[in-house]
């Protein structure tokens, strides 16, 4: 409609059309600038880190005080473990909380008051600086619970940080499901839980998954809260593998050791390298930064694709 307005409806003639045009040009220039800036970040990282990016030993070596021998092995293994923990905690708390607020909330009485409190609280938590979460983890997980500066503490910290996004996206996904679906389920005698299990969760899974990947892509690059709980930058060993070769293939003892072992993650390794004065370490930082950026880019692309697919699958 708006596009098809004939030009002569503009009363003030060319002058005003000119203003429209100026704005369109300014908008396009800014869009172009933002895109080229993002692109230049990627190009800078590739160019600076090229010699290390193409060196296979970079991915299989421990950090070292010799820049040309240093690698990101312990960093990416640590990232995998910490993210595993973060994903676990944020799912088991975030998804039920989101379902509760959207499906179960009574919105009256004392319970209703608590529900409103939870809502406001989540909106606020979403904007709390990440380093504050680090101080929370330091005070609670390290000093009160004595989990130490471990993978367990890091996973819990990042998991809590991911909560607000997961709760919000779960709620948005559920809100899109029409009321008829629920009433049809109740009409054939389903209980509330059966309705949620068989209809609400499956239909909103795409939306939940999207929010989930987006928040994980934020958490994977997060550095500040892990620095405050004392993540080390020089880790020249790997935690024991929780998967063993003999039956039952999972060792609980090793699993516990993994949880309590010290760790480093990619962003902390990058921070360490970038803050050293020697330029040779900056090459490593650029290479590791590129690896991390590609990871977050892939995760965001995946989230975008899932959102697009879901939108086409369910048309209410």
């Amino acid at each position: 409609m708006r596009e098809s307005l004939p030009l002569d409806t503009y009363k003030e003639g060319r002058y005003v059309i000119g203003k429209d045009l100026i704005f369109i040009i300014a908008g396009l220039i800014l869009v172009f600038l933002v895109m080229s800036l993002l692109l230049s970040v990627i190009i800078v990282l590739v160019l600076d880190g090229w010699t290390r990016l193409v060196d296979p030993s970079f991915y299989t070596s421990f950090p070292s005080r010799f820049p040309e021998r240093a690698g990101i092995l312990s960093a990416w293994v640590g990232t995998v473990y910490v993210m595993g923990g973060a994903i676990f905690w944020s799912i088991i708390i975030g998804v039920p909380a989101g379902i509760y607020l959207e499906e179960y909330a009574r919105k009256k009485g004392v319970i209703g008051y608590i529900e409103r409190l939870i809502e406001i609280n989540i909106a606020n938590l979403a904007a709390v600086p990440s380093i504050i979460y680090g101080l929370l983890a330091l005070g609670v997980f390290v000093y009160i619970f004595n989990f130490g500066e471990s993978i367990l503490t890091a996973g819990l910290t990042l998991g809590i940080m991911m909560l607000p996004v997961i709760v919000t996206s779960t709620r948005e996904a559920i809100r899109a499901i029409p009321k008829d679906i629920r009433e049809a389920a109740y009409a054939v005698g389903a209980t509330k839980w059966e309705t949620v299990r068989d209809h609400i969760i499956p239909y909103s899974l795409g939306g939940i998954l999207t929010g989930f990947i987006v928040s994980a892509s934020r958490a994977i690059g997060e550095t500040a809260p892990l620095i405050t709980i004392g993540a080390l930058t020089f880790i020249a060993f790997l935690p024991p593998s929780p998967i063993t070769s003999d039956f039952p293939f999972i060792s609980l003892k090793n699993f516990k050791e993994v949880l309590l072992s010290p760790f480093t993650v990619l962003p902390i390794q990058i921070f360490n390298w970038v803050s050293r004065p020697q330029e040779a370490f900056h090459i490593n930082a650029a290479a590791a930064g590129f690896v991390l950026l590609v990871l977050t880019l892939l995760m965001n692309a995946l989230a975008y694709i899932i959102r697009y697919k879901v939108r086409r699958k369910y048309k209410w």
């Binding site: 005003v16 895109m35 509760y100 904007a127 987006v214 500040a224 991390l292 965001n300």
Partner: protein
């Protein structure tokens, strides 16, 4: 009988799930309670030291926790924080506003759908990567134009932060403008207004609370940002408004102490929690205003 027993079990499961889900929601409150508890109890230990007074903390102009003569006045850190956040907003508000108006009112649908995820991706870029970019790529370029630009400085850090918060200042503002009903625009067009006039005089005022909420959340994000600042702004508590100088912010002070090997309970160590408490209060106020403004927008339409 069988049916009845099944039904009882079903109802029981239903109740258990209800309680479990409510508990999950309730846990989120404990996160806030935990934050406030940790910051206050540990912060009190800081003020219990004889070297520290609350008055000096709030009004002092010197921050020298590592010197022999320790001084704990938060103003150098606060000035650094607000200087960088101010530069970020100077960049982000005009750029964000033009982008928001363009994408919401002028851009073709396809372009909008392509550009918005890219703008939102700006927030997913790891902050250490921004730090690297600011310190090692942008600062050398800026040093060619800006005389006496220190290799650690507030200027470039603030500019990079301003771009980083575009998801709030551009994308969130755009969401607010986009939520203005089409009929309001049609009414404006019907009166002969151009798209420019409609955008500036009708759509923008109608969505102003949402747009400003985006700006405030962006500012809050810039105040709380840690890694870009810790890498690119230097770690020197400096009471200055000169953007070419290195500064230290509240967040980067916390990082500096965390990187050192100070024992739990020492004066410097506890000071982190006092600074954290100040930071939490500042961002809490900003966030609350933004949340309130956003709810006002929702009420309007």
């Amino acid at each position: 009988m069988q049916v009845k027993a099944n039904l009882t079990i079903k109802r029981l499961i239903d109740k258990i799930v209800l309680v479990a889900f409510f508990a999950a929601g309730f846990i989120t409150i404990f996160v806030t309670v935990g934050i406030v508890y940790v910051l206050i109890t540990e912060g009190i230990k800081f003020f219990a030291f004889p070297e520290v007074t609350l008055k000096e903390f709030l009004t002092g102009k010197e921050w020298t926790p590592t010197f022999f003569d320790k001084k704990f006045g938060i103003w150098p850190l606060a000035a650094g924080t607000f200087l960088i956040a101010g530069i970020a907003m100077l960049v982000s508000i005009p750029v964000g506003l033009i982008l928001a108006i363009y994408l919401s009112e002028f851009a073709p649908h396809k372009l909008r759908e392509t550009v918005k995820p890219i703008i939102e991706f700006l927030e997913a870029v790891p902050t250490v990567v921004y730090g690297y970019f600011a310190l090692l790529a942008l600062t050398p370029v800026f040093q060619k134009f800006v005389p006496d630009l220190n290799s650690f400085n507030a200027l470039v850090t603030g500019i990079v932060l301003g771009i980083m918060i575009l998801p709030y200042t551009a994308s969130m503002a755009e969401d607010a403008m986009h939520s203005v009903p089409q009929r309001i625009r049609e009414a404006s067009f019907a009166l002969g207004a151009t798209r420019f006039t409609t955008a500036i005089k009708v759509v923008l005022p109608a969505s102003i609370s949402g747009v400003i909420a985006g700006f405030i959340l962006g500012a809050s994000r810039a105040i709380g940002e840690t890694m870009v600042v810790a890498i690119a702004a230097g770690m020197y508590p400096n009471l200055t408004l000169d953007p070419r100088e290195p500064v230290q912010t509240m967040t980067s002070y916390i990082v500096q102490v965390a990187l050192g090997d100070l024992p739990h309970g020492s004066l410097e160590y506890q000071s982190v929690f006092a600074v954290g408490l100040a930071l939490f209060i500042i961002t809490f106020v900003f966030n609350s205003i933004a949340i309130w403004l956003k709810s006002k927008l929702r009420e309007a339409y």
